[in-house]
Symmetry: C2
């Protein structure tokens, strides 16, 4: 018996029957004696439709009006879920961002939650109602509707859970948890029962797109236990566990490596014979940042010619043409004698694990495994809990599977 916040995304509420299914899940938690607040997204496709209306009028549109328009999607879903709960004899009431209110900054289109006022929600819960909250939206100080940016409903749910001091925040999605690797590549990938916030952040940022990054950051800051689980199973989150994302201190049996991830959305750019003088990096990354190009891995080596250096970095594959365009402009003005190489047939493989901090040899094992398979490592970057390497794209599956086995992540085979 506790207070749960449940969040259901767009595919979980895509149709009226899907919303009925969500109502059944909520009913199970109510029957188990929990108090429940629910956060919902718009019905799948609705937000895209609304955005397309805006784009059809103008490519550059006022974010204040955009917010008022797209926030209507969650308004519909929250009302419909309240109706579906009421039909089951469960008192329920919908609450929009401005009604709670969920107070945000006034950066329209990507506002940040400043505070979730709890008086209205607590009163609703104390009346015995399920509080059904429209996700993704809030209220700016000036009284206008704001939205939190794509995937913002995850953040809404965590913020509501933090404000209400909920026992758990269950994020229902189209996967039943976080896996040690992509099951489409690694057939023996297994569901991770517990993962730390830090690991989850690293997982999400390298491609295991389950939770919005901001929601995990917020959960970590507010110490909200978050569970990722499937809305397409008949059991509720209290019955069949998904993956719990929680403080590392609460995870007793910590694996050294929790997961192996990969990303094919990578392109590599190398600048050779770069003048090795102060300010040269700024001359390159300044214009790229201005062009809104996100640079990921960066390594700089000493060149054979001591007055010159080599620089390699990665960008997302879609940004490669624009990146080369920017660099060529820089080359003409500032980088005489520098050559630019690029390739898009690369893949980034990462191993992630809190346990790395207390074990030595984790990275070297990775390099050894890849070497044994004859896979050349082009770039390496490391963080405290992650090692990433860039390799030729054709080796992606081989690398992921080999590492998954090497770090003992393979699921025991049914005998």
């Amino acid at each position: 018996m506790g207070l749960l916040v449940l969040k259901f995304g767009g595919t979980s509420v895509a149709t009226v029957p899907a919303i009925e299914n969500v109502a059944s899940k909520v009913a199970q938690e109510i029957a188990a004696g929990h108090k429940v607040a629910v956060v919902v997204s718009a019905m799948a496709g609705v937000t895209n439709q609304l955005v397309s209306y805006c784009s059809a009028i103008s490519q550059i549109f006022d974010a204040k009006e955009y917010d008022a328009i797209v926030a209507s999607g969650e308004q519909v879903t929250s009302g419909l879920l309240a109706l579906a709960l009421q039909k089951r004899g469960i008192p329920a009431r919908s609450w929009l961002g401005w009604q709670v209110p969920i107070v945000t900054s006034d950066v329209h289109g990507k506002a940040r939650i400043k505070a979730v006022e709890t008086d209205t929600l607590r009163a609703s819960l104390e009346r015995g109602e399920v509080a059904v909250i429209a996700g993704f939206q809030g209220l700016a100080p000036g009284g206008r509707i704001t939205t939190l940016g794509r995937g913002g409903s995850d953040t809404s749910a965590v913020a509501v859970a933090a404000a209400l001091k909920a026992d758990r925040c269950d994020i229902y999605t189209d996967v039943d948890g976080v896996y040690t690797s992509d099951p489409r590549i690694v057939s023996r990938a297994k569901k991770i029962p517990k993962i730390s916030y830090e690991e989850m952040l690293e997982m999400a940022s390298v491609g295991a797109k389950v939770l919005q990054t901001r929601s995990v950051e917020l959960a970590m800051k507010e110490k909200v236990p978050v569970q990722v689980l499937s809305s397409f199973e008949s059991a509720s989150g209290s019955e069949i566990p998904g993956t719990m994302v929680m403080d590392e201190d609460r995870i007793v049996e910590q694996e050294v490596v929790s997961g192996v991830t990969h990303s094919r959305d990578e392109a590599k750019v190398s600048l050779r014979s770069l003048p090795d003088v102060p300010g040269v990096a700024a001359k390159i990354f300044g214009p790229l940042a201005e062009a809104a190009i996100n640079v990921d891995m960066i390594v700089q080596n000493v060149s054979p010619d001591k007055a010159r250096t080599d620089l390699t970095f990665t960008v997302s594959r879609a940004d490669l043409p624009k990146t080369l365009e920017v660099l060529k402009a820089v080359q003409q003005t500032d980088l005489a004698g520098t050559t630019i190489d690029s390739s898009a047939d690369v893949s980034k493989i990462s191993i992630i694990g809190i346990g790395m901090r207390s074990y030595v040899g984790v990275a070297s094992k990775m390099f050894q495994v890849l070497a044994e398979k004859g896979i050349n490592i082009q770039v390496i970057t490391t963080s405290e809990i992650k090692v990433s390497v860039l390799i030729g794209e054709e080796y992606t599956e081989l690398a992921v599977r080999s590492l998954h086995t090497a770090y003992g992540l393979d699921q025991a085979q049914a005998s």
Copy 2:
């Protein structure tokens, strides 16, 4: 140069191109130097879609949630129109019912407007913005969204015009004005340039469904000049006039009869040999009212048998079976000896005109015209500015055309 409130219905904002067309009309009024507030409905079909979601969950649903759900339609349109105006370089801002606020009663699903707060709207207009207001919706004292019932956006527009003391409220619709008769029946029907509120109310209630009745009542009470005009012409309402609905004192050249209307949605019920005792009418109309059956024309005659009487009344055709069911129940308990006749092949023809008050012989001319055409009158009712007769349905066109000519309403033919 003045302050105009323009209202655009669902077909006028059905698509993005239609919304662009609306923006062009608003731009014309701005270019002419007017300040403009706009009230919009949901895109055609959207409200029906939202209602169908509610009905799919439950036939009986909570009106509070219904209101939150369906109000989202106008939210989208108001934002999109603001964007379309901004694209034309016209500052614009959308305002939802709760933002204005438009304060209503808490009768969800058919709330009545109590007050339109003007501070927010005036500030918006004074900043040089077009205030784009979501029609059909308001805010109940408890902080929940309300809706005004179908067609409520007309009422929103008139209420906003009254609160802002606008010079005119232009209701753009799919017809270019109010006609002396249905042009599909009377080819020489002409557009009425000016009509009084009272006449408009009588026109609307007998089938010329152009404006929501409540909006006309409100306009009459608040003396708001309302113009009905087409959104499908390129000119604005300040350029090509539609029909002005206004106080009769301001209409200089008043026709004796302004229009001839008809309704085929009629059924006649006759009770013969009814006991002529006090309370008998209540025994009949009480149960009908309880069954939510709306009774229109009622006439009672003296019967040859002095202790008995004949009673005839009309109901809408769809209500006839239910009416007969109710009457048969009453017959068994209270009306022994009474016979019940009914017929659904009847039509109601009305002549409407403020001028009737000051002219004699207007009704008798109607009876004479019908008699000359061999049309039998089954029931007659009169009000101060309307005479209605019930006739056999097959005479509908003949009656309407003959009366239209007889009262001098035919448009001059091009020579």
